[in-house]
Symmetry: C2
Subunit: 231 residues, 2 copies
Amino acid sequence: MGGAGEIKAVCLLSGGIDSSVATGIAKAAGYEIYALTFRYNQRHIRELESATKLARFFGVEEHKILNLDLGKIGGSALTSPIEVPEGKTVERIKSGGIPVTYVPARNTIFLSYGLAYAEVINANFIFIGANYVDCPGYPDCRPEYFGKFQEMANLATKRAVEGSPVKIKYPLIAMSKAEIIKKGHELGVPFELTWSCYKGGEKACGKCDSCILRLKGFEEAGYEDPLVYDK
Amino acid sequence: MGGAGEIKAVCLLSGGIDSSVATGIAKAAGYEIYALTFRYNQRHIRELESATKLARFFGVEEHKILNLDLGKIGGSALTSPIEVPEGKTVERIKSGGIPVTYVPARNTIFLSYGLAYAEVINANFIFIGANYVDCPGYPDCRPEYFGKFQEMANLATKRAVEGSPVKIKYPLIAMSKAEIIKKGHELGVPFELTWSCYKGGEKACGKCDSCILRLKGFEEAGYEDPLVYDK
């Protein structure tokens, strides 16, 4: 497929903007893309449709959708019935608290599956679209966390024992949403296929934290959001 | 419940000997036990029954059985149709290769869910029955791997950010199967409820790697295995 056809990358593709841009970066580097999407929340079913369309757009070698049984564990507005917050998003987020939409150990679980998948297909990289600039409250979105996950991964697998551990790539880590959107535009990422709303209705709600951050990002980037909003 | 009723431990309980003894150790320390079992392989369905009986025996506060979608990833004799090996178990294992029963990133995935569960119930510990003495071929059974997982976990969760990261306990890490069985006897672990066979028939096969190691362990420990074998 791509220019460096032998080099494989597992891309964690949720269907949102960040994971789409991270996948776009892997694609632009010429890697063969193996997309991995997690189904863990009824509300986010819309994201799965987006992930499927995006995987097709990026011409991935394979797209796996894994069911995660996170609902049984709960502990988050995204996996159990806690109210998804609306309003004062930016103030609330910048205040440094951990949002109720935080899903316990989510990135650790996602990357663990990524590690397993990378091991099986013999991939060199795992791409994750995490970033902490606009959303500093998530413990597992900090660069030092990913550094430690890498160190652990360097010991965890057969591939690592054999001398070539998979490398975790988090190219958006220090970018704001506006910068991510600009980067996506440069790369031709089809934002009309992405989905961000926490509510998963017919149209994006425009009111939840995720919609607010997305709209603010497009505004700051100077582009129009191609999604239709419910208002 | 126990003497130190406030202290909670998540115990990864597969239904095998090692996880049962690790759970027995947590129980003897007086912790409230929250058992976590993973369903990831049809062949091992017998282990789930054992895990359920053992959870009842240990009087756990809660027992969660999570479905892991590992079959879609494959890459192991335990998750996809590769032949489970028989014969020359000890020679093969001691030769240092990685067994076909190795499941890519298994302990990383297990511990990640343990981390999520510990975060939600506010547990102090996660107990895992891993050991490398009789089975040195698994990369994610080495003590240095668990050390690095701990360092990663120290950054991964809300609880960690708030100053009290969950502690990963792997008390069997340097014990042989015989030593683990002796320890279990001391603690009154009901070995008749455990299950080890990779094949998951009505009776244990007595021929797969797991049965061979179990039988050898009982012999070396000087106890009789209470299970009935198919021969």
